[in-house]
Symmetry: C2
Subunit: 451 residues, 2 copies
C-alpha cells in the first residue's frame, strides 16, 4: 500500500507530550485564576453562521477568516471570542444575570500569512464583564488585579501592567484644540512607542496640521514623568477630561487593596489600543525583559458589546491573552520551567511475576490514593524498561518480583538518584505521595534568577 | 442600525452558564481519571489537510465531513480523534516512547442531518495505548478498569461494561464451518440485540445459507448463560478460538485486582463493534436503566493504527466517550446533580461604603485563600443585589457598611437559610472555606435513590 506522508498544517501548533503538559498547566492556571474573580466558563461553538459572525463586516478580519459552505449553509470559524460572546449575550439575554462575568479559553482561527511565531489556529483566554445599561467603574479597577494574579500564578515576575483611559486622551485632544482631528492624532499617538516623539510631532504638525506648540504640549503631558500629577494640573478645563481623570484615579487608588504591587503597575498616557471600540480604561501588559514582544495581555472598557444584534446597551470591560503566541515566546526565550514534572505517570510498576495480580492490586491502590500509576508488562529487557521510565521522566519505578510479593514489600527505585528502597505495600501510597506532590507544585514559567 | 438576529447553528450545543459548569466538571473528571492510568494529554489541530485526514478514504464519513479550501489548501475539520492520533504517532514517532498512552478530549465535526440529541460539533474523550510492533494483553485487561473508574468518578453507579474478543468470534465462526461467510455472519450477529435471536437465525439460514443446526449451535454459544464456561468446553478445537479464549480469560481474571466489581462487568459474546478494524478485545458500556441509549463508552483492540502513513506496525487499544451526547442524555433523563454548586462565585461582597478599600481588601484576602469572591458595586437597590446572588446561586453574601468596617467584622448572610452572622475579618476565609468546600465535592451525575 502506498503511504500518505503524515504532516501537520503550517501555522498550527502541535506539541510533543511534555510541552503539552506545560501548556495545559498554563490553561488550567488561567481558568482557576479567572474563577477566583467570579468569572463563569463558556464554551461556544467554533463554527458560526457567517452572517452572524461578520455582522460588523469589513476590515482585515474578513480576509483572514476561514469561511466555507456546507449544504446551503454559509459558515465561518470564529476569529476571536468577543463576537461569539456578543452573540451569546444577545441570544441568551433573558437567561443571564448582569453584570455577567464570563471567561472563555478556546481556539480561534485566522488565515494569516504563515510566519515564525504566528499561528492560524491559536488559543485566546478572555475574560469580560458585561453590564446591562451601566457598569460600575470598580469593574475596570479590578482588571489589573486579575492580570497581576494570573501572570504571578503562572510564575512570571518581571512584567508591568500599563493603564490609560480613552476619555483622558479624548479630553486632552479637545483641550489642546485637536478635537476635530482626534482620529488622526490618536493614530499618531498610537505609534509613539514604535517611532518616537520626534516623528510623532512631525506627523502631527505636517500631516495633521497641528500647531507645533499644541503638539509639543500634548506630548509633554502624555510623556510626563508623573502622569497623574500632570493630569491633576489640568482638572476643571474639560468635562470629558475630568471624567477620564476621575476614572483613572479610581483605578489607580485601589491597586494596593487589589494586591497589585506598585512596581507592577503604571499609568501610561501614550497607550491608545486602536482607534475605536474602547471608551474608558485600556490595558496593556509587557514583559519587562522582553519589550520587543509587545503586549501579552490587552483590553479595555467598551460601551456597546452587542450593538449589531440588539438595541440593548451592553457596556463591558475585558482582556485577552494570546496563549499560543505567549507559549511560543516563553519557549523561545527559555522561560518554561524545565524542572516541572511533565511525565505521564508518577510511578511505573514493573511486574516480574507470571501472575500480574499483585502488581495490578498495587496499581489500583496507588490510583485510589490519587497517584498516577502505569503498569508496564511489555516483554522487554530490564534495561529497556528502565530506559522507558527514564525517557518519559517518570520519577519512580517499582519492581515486583516473587521476593517482593513474598515479603509484602515493593522495591522502589528513585530515578533521579538511582537509590532503591523496600517499602511495605500498605506504606507505598504515602511514601510516593510525600515525594511526588512537591514535584507537581512548580509554576510553568521560570525566569532567570538574575534580576 | 438594522440588527442581525443572533442565533447559534442547529446541531451545535451551546450551554447556559450553570450547565457549562457541570459539563466542564465532567470533562475535568475524565481528564484526571485518565491521568491516573498514565495517559498524557494531546491537543492536535482541529483542521488537517484533507488528503491526510481522508487517507483511508471512502465511506459514510467522507459525506459528513466539513471540507473547504483556503487559498490553495484543501482542508477538513477532524471527524474523530483517532485519525489525528494516527497522523501524530506516525509524524512524531521518533520523539515518542512506546507504549504511548495518550488521552484527548476535544471537539470533532460531522455534518449529520440535524435531529434531537445528535450534534454536528461534539466532544469526544478518547484514550489509546499504542505499542511499537507489539502490545501486551495486560493493556487490554486494564481498559475496563479505566471505564469503571471514570463513570464512578462522574457519579454513575448503574452501568455495566460488556467485553468480548474478536478472535473468539472469528474462531467460533470457523469452528462452526462459517469461516467463508465470516463477514456476513458477523453482520447478522451484530444485530442480535436489536432484532432478536429468531430473526438472526432467519438471516443466517436464508441469506447466508448457514445450516440451521450450525446457526443454532453458534447462537447457543454466543447466548450461553455462562459464556466463559461455554468457551472452555470448546478449547483445543481451533487455534484462533484458543487464542481468543486465552485473551478473554486474562481480561476477566484481573478484573477484581483492577477494582472492577463483578456486577459492573460481563462477558458478552454477541458484541462485535463493527465489521473490521478491531482484532482483539472489544468493549461496550451500557447504563443499566437506559439500555435504549446504547453504548456510552466503546472501543477495542486494533492491529494497525497508522497503516495509511507508515509501514511500522502500531497495534493499539482504545476507547471513546461521546461526551456531548452523554451530557444531553443525562440532562434529558434528569440525571445531572442539581445540588452541585454551579455558581460563578462562592461569595458576593456588597460594599456599603463610599470607600471601596475595605471591601476590595477583603476580596483580595478571600481569593488568596482560594475562595471565589465577586465584588458587586452596581448602583442598585438592596433587594436587586440580593436577587442577583440568589439567581446565580451564590451561597454567601457579605455586607460591608460603616458599622462593619468600624467593628472589623463582616456580616455574612447564608442564602439558603437567610441567617446572618458577624465574623471578624481575619476569620472570614476559614469561616467560608469550611462551608463552601463540601458544596464543590459532589459528583456531576446523580441517579435516583431507588435501586
Amino acid at each position: 500500500m502506498s503511504k500518505m506522508k503524515p504532516r501537520t498544517l503550517s501555522g498550527f501548533m502541535e506539541l510533543l507530550p511534555a510541552q503539552q503538559v506545560l501548556f495545559d498547566r498554563m490553561k488550567q492556571i488561567l481558568a482557576s485564576t479567572y474563577q477566583l474573580y467570579g468569572f463563569t466558563p463558556l464554551d461556544t461553538p467554533l463554527i458560526e453562521a457567517s452572517e452572524v459572525l461578520l455582522a460588523k463586516g469589513g476590515g482585515e478580519t474578513e480576509k483572514q477568516i476561514y469561511r466555507f459552505t456546507k449544504g446551503d449553509a454559509d459558515l465561518s470559524l470564529r476569529f476571536d471570542l468577543t463576537v461569539p460572546l456578543a452573540k451569546y449575550v444577545a441570544l441568551h439575554y433573558s437567561d443571564l444575570s448582569f453584570p455577567f462575568r464570563r471567561y472563555q479559553i478556546g481556539k480561534v482561527y485566522r488565515g494569516e500569512r504563515a510566519q515564525r511565531g504566528r499561528y492560524r489556529e491559536f488559543y485566546q483566554a478572555d475574560i469580560d464583564i458585561i453590564g446591562d445599561g451601566k457598569l460600575d467603574i470598580s469593574n475596570e479597577a479590578e482588571i489589573p488585579s486579575v492580570i497581576y494574579q494570573t501572570f504571578t500564578a503562572l510564575g512570571l515576575r518581571r512584567f508591568k501592567i500599563r493603564v490609560n483611559n480613552r476619555k483622558v486622551l479624548g479630553g486632552l485632544f479637545s483641550l489642546f484644540g485637536l478635537g476635530d482631528q482626534a482620529t488622526d492624532v490618536m493614530r499618531a499617538v498610537d505609534k509613539l512607542e514604535k517611532i518616537g516623539r520626534d516623528k510623532v510631532i512631525q506627523i502631527l504638525t505636517e500631516d495633521c496640521a497641528v500647531a507645533a506648540e499644541a503638539a509639543g504640549a500634548l506630548l509633554d503631558t502624555l510623556e510626563a514623568a508623573d502622569p497623574m500629577a500632570a493630569l491633576e494640573g489640568l482638572r476643571g478645563k474639560d468635562a470629558l477630561l475630568d471624567q477620564g481623570i476621575e476614572e483613572l484615579s479610581t483605578v489607580v487608588r485601589y491597586m494596593g487593596a487589589f494586591g497589585v504591587p506598585q512596581d507592577h503597575f503604571a499609568v501610561d498616557l501614550t497607550i491608545a489600543r486602536g482607534l475605536d471600540y474602547y471608551t474608558g480604561t485600556v490595558y496593556e501588559t509587557v514583559m519587562t525583559d522582553h519589550p520587543e514582544i509587545g503586549s501579552i495581555c490587552s483590553g479595555g472598557r467598551y460601551d456597546n458589546l452587542a450593538e449589531y444584534y440588539t438595541d440593548k446597551q451592553l457596556p463591558g470591560v475585558g482582556i485577552s491573552i494570546g496563549l499560543t503566541r505567549l507559549f511560543y515566546v516563553l519557549e523561545e526565550q527559555g522561560l518554561l520551567n524545565q524542572s516541572l514534572l511533565t511525565a505521564p505517570a508518577d510511578v511505573l510498576i514493573l511486574p516480574m511475576t507470571e501472575d500480574l495480580g499483585p502488581a495490578i492490586t498495587l496499581a489500583t491502590q496507588l490510583r485510589a490514593a490519587s497517584l498516577r500509576a502505569q503498569l508496564y508488562n511489555e516483554p522487554k529487557k530490564f534495561k529497556a524498561k528502565i530506559s522507558y521510565a527514564d525517557k518519559l521522566g517518570i520519577p519512580y519505578v517499582i519492581f515486583l518480583g516473587e521476593d517482593e510479593v513474598a515479603a509484602g514489600a515493593a522495591s522502589i527505585k528513585e530515578m533521579a538518584t538511582g537509590q532503591q528502597q523496600s517499602v511495605p505495600f500498605d506504606q507505598v501510597p504515602a511514601y510516593l505521595l510525600q515525594r511526588v506532590a512537591p514535584m507537581a507544585q512548580g509554576k510553568p514559567i521560570q525566569e532567570n534568577n538574575d534580576d
